[in-house]
């Protein structure tokens, strides 16, 4: 049976889970955002008067959105990496203490 983890280790686990949630959630949100927006842009493209301008707005909108969500996802990835490293370090320290006691 594994030893019981400390409170700090538990919170690092929560941080790891949340950071992964942000990393992958941002990618999924981006897909939802862009595909919902595409529904509106398709309507605007079907109207000759708005076709040209909607294409420009669509490109700008999609690029800004991609940049924002990618930034958020990368931040989540970095946070997950930090949490995992901190948890591993904490576990090593915990194991050393158990072995020395």
């Amino acid at each position: 049976m594994k030893p019981t983890h400390s409170n700090a280790h538990w919170w690092l686990g929560v941080a790891d889970l949340l950071a992964h949630g942000v990393q992958h959630g941002a990618v999924k949100l981006q897909r939802i955002h862009l595909s919902v927006a595409d529904e509106s842009f398709r309507v605007l493209e079907a109207i000759p008067a708005t076709r040209h301008s909607s294409r420009i707005v669509r490109v700008c909108h999609h690029e800004i959105s991609r940049l924002s969500y990618t930034g958020l996802s990368l931040a989540g990835r970095a946070a997950a990496g930090l949490a995992a490293r901190a948890a591993a370090g904490h576990a090593r320290k915990h194991d050393l203490n158990v072995n020395n006691s």
Binding site: M1, H5, W10, R31, I32, S35, A84, A87
Partner: protein, 303 residues
Amino acid sequence: MVSVPSAGRVQQHISAIASGFLGDWLEHRGNALAVPMTVFADGEPLDLLNPRPAAPGSVLCLSIHGLMELESVWDFPGQPGEHYGTRLAERLGNASALKLRFNSGRPIYRNGQDLAALLERLVSNWPVPVTRLVLLGHSMGGLLIRSACHYGAENDDSWVRLNPDCVYIGSPHDGSWLAVGAHKAAGWLNRVPRDYLKVVGEVIDLRSEGIRNLSRGEVFEPGTAHQPLLAGARHYVISGLLVRGEEHLVNALFGDALVHEASARGARQPGWQLTGTANFPGVDHIRLAHHSAVARQLEEWLV
């Protein structure tokens, strides 16, 4: 008086829920939210290599919770520490009531293999010779018992020779309608040519191996042929229904809210010989784990 759960208790519940949803992933990452398999006696974890409970009995009564649950699911409302196991131990005499906590998101067969090994260590190291073993499983816990019995018999474990009493309480032997429904919904949404609906399908599909096994009632390693119930052991089934009228449409659609009566009885499992079955109309899935009528039935069967 309203009892307020402690911060530690809240953390344990969060761990149990996270483990149920993503237990295999959490375990793979070494995340501290993954619940380790632990046996409790009187609310204290036992060291399996040297178990020292307050009053060890020669009859062991182990209660095993279900998906995303903790061992506290067994406690009667307003009576912490009082559960089917303690009632049975009281009536049987010379018995110890134990509870298991485990990571319910892991594949059921892996939890079953670990449970078989755990029972072997527990019975071998118990301070007094064990003469009888009673295993109570709620929901997924019942599937774990079947799995552990198979792997215990395969390893020729000594606890299997005690011919345990196995009680399956609201266990979806043929799968759970909700888990099957979620699987079908996810499949349908993933086929729709709209990315936002696909994402919803992917989120529904984001679930642990334990939940996937539960949806199909799978308890053995993939590729294993169908296995019968453990020979020599006594097998009891308890099922619940949402509404008191047995023939009510709600019961036909939802069973005890999560499991249909037929699935709880293993109606599609070939060659099952059950020692006893009981159905409790008006008792839902969660209340099956701590209901006075079920307690009386268990005493009638096992004492």
